[in-house]
Symmetry: C2
Amino acid sequence: MIHSDIFQDNPKLSIFLPIYYTLWADSVMTTTESKEVEALIHRQYWLSAEEKEWLFEQFNPSNPPKPKLLKNLRKEIKSIPIEQESLTAIGVALAQKYQSDVSYPQDVMADFEFTEQALGLLGKEASYSFKSGHETITNVQHAEQNFNVSALTALLDGSHAELIHRVKTVISDHAFAFREFESLQDQREQTLLWCQELAKQGFGAWAFPKFADGKDDMEGYFAIMETLSYHDLSMVIKFGVQFGLWGMSIFFLGTEKHHRKYLKDVGSLKLPGCFAMTETGHGSNVRGLETTATYNHEKKTFTIHTPNPDARKEYIGNAALHGQKATVFAKLIIDGEDFGVNAFIVPLRDAEGNLVSGVRIEDCGRKMGLNGVDNGVIYFDQVDIPQEDMLDRFSSVNEAGEFESPISSDNRRFFTMLGTLVGGRIGIPRSALAATKTGLTIAIRHGEKRKQFGPEGGEEAPILNYRMHQRRLMPPLATSYALHFGLRYLTDRFLKRSEEDAQEIEALAAGLKAYTTWFTTATLQECREACGGKGYLSENRIDALKNDTDVYTTFEGDNVVLMQLVAKNRLTEFRQEFSDMNMFTIFNYVTHQAKTSITEKNPLIVRNTDKEHLLDMDFHLSAFRYRERAILTSAARRIKRHIDEGMDSFDAFNVVQHHLLNVGQAYIERIILEEFQAAVKETADEGIKAALTQLCQLFALYTIEKNRGWYLEQGYMEGVKTKAIRKEVNQLCWEVRKNALALTDAFAIPESCIAAPIARRNRGSEGKVFKATDEHR
Amino acid sequence: MIHSDIFQDNPKLSIFLPIYYTLWADSVMTTTESKEVEALIHRQYWLSAEEKEWLFEQFNPSNPPKPKLLKNLRKEIKSIPIEQESLTAIGVALAQKYQSDVSYPQDVMADFEFTEQALGLLGKEASYSFKSGHETITNVQHAEQNFNVSALTALLDGSHAELIHRVKTVISDHAFAFREFESLQDQREQTLLWCQELAKQGFGAWAFPKFADGKDDMEGYFAIMETLSYHDLSMVIKFGVQFGLWGMSIFFLGTEKHHRKYLKDVGSLKLPGCFAMTETGHGSNVRGLETTATYNHEKKTFTIHTPNPDARKEYIGNAALHGQKATVFAKLIIDGEDFGVNAFIVPLRDAEGNLVSGVRIEDCGRKMGLNGVDNGVIYFDQVDIPQEDMLDRFSSVNEAGEFESPISSDNRRFFTMLGTLVGGRIGIPRSALAATKTGLTIAIRHGEKRKQFGPEGGEEAPILNYRMHQRRLMPPLATSYALHFGLRYLTDRFLKRSEEDAQEIEALAAGLKAYTTWFTTATLQECREACGGKGYLSENRIDALKNDTDVYTTFEGDNVVLMQLVAKNRLTEFRQEFSDMNMFTIFNYVTHQAKTSITEKNPLIVRNTDKEHLLDMDFHLSAFRYRERAILTSAARRIKRHIDEGMDSFDAFNVVQHHLLNVGQAYIERIILEEFQAAVKETADEGIKAALTQLCQLFALYTIEKNRGWYLEQGYMEGVKTKAIRKEVNQLCWEVRKNALALTDAFAIPESCIAAPIARRNRGSEGKVFKATDEHR
């Protein structure tokens, strides 16, 4: 048995001691290792046969030391000052401790050091286990703040900073404190109370005309909805159902008589209502709605009716409990003739909450999330409504009982009506992004505080310093900033829309809705996992954020369907670009272009891995644009080819469906990048500009990396370049991580809304969060 | 105004009628379109100036027809039998209806048909809108069943079919019917009741020795846990905590005295207990646990103590309400000396449920899911336990109060102890896969029944016929089958493990746990979205499946950490393959190999797009193996290079962390494919073999497609080949979709467990689900 006494009796053997300790202490001593050491011992010409025999015995794998002995050895080794960077050197120091004049020939030292390496004991590493305070790049990285956070908040908030501040103040009030709900009933009532409070603050009517106590400020309405989304999302959706869907359907599909009759009570929530479009059998394909509104010439009324169970209205928010009226979409029938889907205001309950005769409502019950919203199923059994309750902006029944409309086609009229309601597809992604920002704030704060693992003998590292953790959270942080500017652009375009660009904006909204909500779902999933078990506890909020937003990918249009709508719009726009060519010419052009595009790829660029080039914003935008155009072109070509080969166009579109999703995605990504780059360019503040530039580069390169299979297939990049991009993404993640905390601070989410115990700041920052906007005013 | 009367007065103009209708009916009439038609009118030498003028007026974009007129035109067109495949031909037929002898010169007909195309009105398509019963490939695809479902079930169930059948019978009993819970308390009590019922059936003790009323059948225990996972997952996890974690810790870390003292009561659930390892500050890095167990020489007891809040035991299942004892992991201290983490049985509550003195427990409260499991936080304040309650298989304190262990190193001993508990990393992925199978069964049945959109004039298509829907659900279906065989292999290896392959099996379990649970999370997300709003309603089960399994990626080891563990094990194995080389030689070999591998890529193969080649299982396996080896080699090389350049090894591993995840993933994917291919080869039944072959091909090609960026970067494939693979994946999705319903039927999940209203079978199949296993017995 090795015993420190023996070494003290025979100090020169101590050179074996650190290797001995290390081999026994941390891994299973394998036969290979034991043989390696055996050979080393054999080679030691300065040892006696007895000493060698004794050493062989010590390194015999079936002769482990007692635990206690191993501990003593460790203490022995640690008792000398560890400066050395190899186990051999430590061994020598140890020997000299026992007998100061011990020394070993140069070749012996070299032999030991060679064996150390052969054993895979990287000397420096192994020696760290004896040191304390071992520091590495990984465990010392920490948060920095290289820009003025308040100024960035002001930049993000834009012109509605004051309103945003007001909304934050309201939802930070004690009345809005999060609490656990006893039951579904309890949660729904609380959600209603919160909405009533918001209505009282004037937020509900914000977009409505002044005569309805509104501010006539649609942009403000979106800012309100977005800011509310830092708080409970059931509240946001109930708010959106009442003031957005129910209110806006009256506002956009009705005429002044409806506005004057209803909007004031809608805005004050005196008149809770519903938006009853979706039917059980008709979710995405709403053109096929079957509810009927039959005109009665004598009584000048419409009879609303559910002809079969598939035609019942489903998932209708506000229906199960609170809704008193609903905008109902139904096929208008006059004298047996079908005039397509039109909109009608139909009573559901009286002011006391009793159901109107002929109306049957079922509760949708528990959902994955948004349980504060009372969704219901509605059946109508011959419910009569007066003629004036037809929302008649786009169609009406005249005095003679004839249908009138400036739009000839039923389908076109219906889609025109739907087009006016595109605001929902702006409010939802903005709400989704706010929820994502909250999730990222929680996960990043946790990643900063939570330490786990570390170098041998050193402090544990914050988990945000691990590359995978950065890869999980930094690209989403960059994408959140990118989407912030993308959604601002969408809002601007919507507010300034005209008849000419209506369809383009509808496609933009559809695409950004789909892109953002998928991003939200994926990011909150990463946040949950990045917070480990803590992320699974409801108190840390990611549960609610994830589950409440999960349906965002479905409502206001299923994302897959929406992305196809975007693709079809792009194909149409593509065609219109060539308006003076006929279809044959266009397809010839397309084929030609595809053939020549290969020559446009400069061989120097496809292999260029210079850092300067890779970080160049023009390179990013060119790559995005190339992808967008090439995918669109090839989609058009494929559809054409399938149809030429005799395929039904319905089948042809189905065959390329996967490709069409990429058309939509590439288009949206290009828009987002353009807007983010423009925002960066406009920024004057140097610190903020630098931070945003990094985020913009990360968004761009991460997106290219995500699509690298495509770029490689196209020959637009070669493997050396995509590999260099991956490395650059890793590096940008590492850089952005430093600012990460400050970048989430700039979202300026009220601490009372973040609420998660794992995200609590150490410094008392309760009052701090509004500072940014305060200063900005 | 165009009026059908006018056409009847001047029938030859009717050739314009279908174009007129089509342009006004479905899209906005653009200036371009109007100009195109204007030119057409101009060219008609057979028209008078007045007739032309009148026609110009009709096609004026600012002069839309009345809705009613458009409807009449449609009726007019539909009144003739529509056989024609162009609008021109329909127009001619219409003219001939009014005046049978009307005819048009050949050049006029050609001119009209050219204009139709120039307008983008693909005649055949446009004409469909006048037909009824338009069928396409897309809307007629339907479910087939090309193999014997019961025989496939028998193949999946394997040797434990009878036990699986018994478990299914139990959980289909009325006592196990799903119900909505009033409160957290209600759910937890129900979960306990279910577990008690399972214990009564003997399932809890199944793996225990006969003297503890067990069957000594570990394989059976896994089959039970997997089958139970078709039912409520809180029940499964509480079952796993009690019988797996608490029971198995006694079984594997204790000795016979503990087995005889405790196992019977554990198996019967008379003694509910906990597995208390994780601490607040020590989740993944459990080596750093801080709870202490201090030995008292005089009393021969251990004092269990929580020295600081970070050392409290956290997320401990069964702790908040029911646990009476716990296996507690704590650092053993004897005479001030730390002997590393050991395991002790510590009392928490008496049989009446009163907390033992010195024990404080807090409730973890609501979680994202698994709310039937009462997780708690435990603090120990100097709790004494008798010496015999140290679990002493791997270490003990002897009569003299000295520490004894056959394993010298504290760390090695601890990891050896953990290694015996690897069964948890088998039970969890098997449970996850069962939940995934349920989710896929629900989503595929829904996709088969739910119809939305369709060709003009045709029936709506089942959404499962859409390519994107197939892409969402078919690769996961294939992967589920693949994982079934992968997890069976893992179980077999575990049951036959020896000391030599223990580490390999630990890595295999860690990797398959991470791979499967990530797959589950992603797949259930797809299932939720694929079921649209219906997927969001809790009654359709995906809510619970997703939220309950969400933490599977975290517990039993965080997936990111586990995958790194796998990678490190692979690096070690890699090194051991070259056991007679020293490290220098190995790295030289690696560098050499990397340089030559490029020449191994046959230029014919990197571009081969033959279907036969792409579907060839040997090609698949070669590609998987190449990837595994190349990634492993390059990871080793990179780490070596960083360290050579002076980087700390902790930093070096962090820099390549993203790469290490791929090492783990590539290894696991190769294992899964090997096992799936072996299973296919062993299958005798032709129908089943064909079905499994398609699934295996889909799994392989989908996985290659997912990694195509990597294959392209490596030059292992060229773009033409990855594109051909994508096409083949689409085609396989289309083929597998036909069998999809039958393939989920083969999972033979009890209908009472599927439970989702959207997944209800039309045929009365309540009794059917056990048929497969019945026949097999």
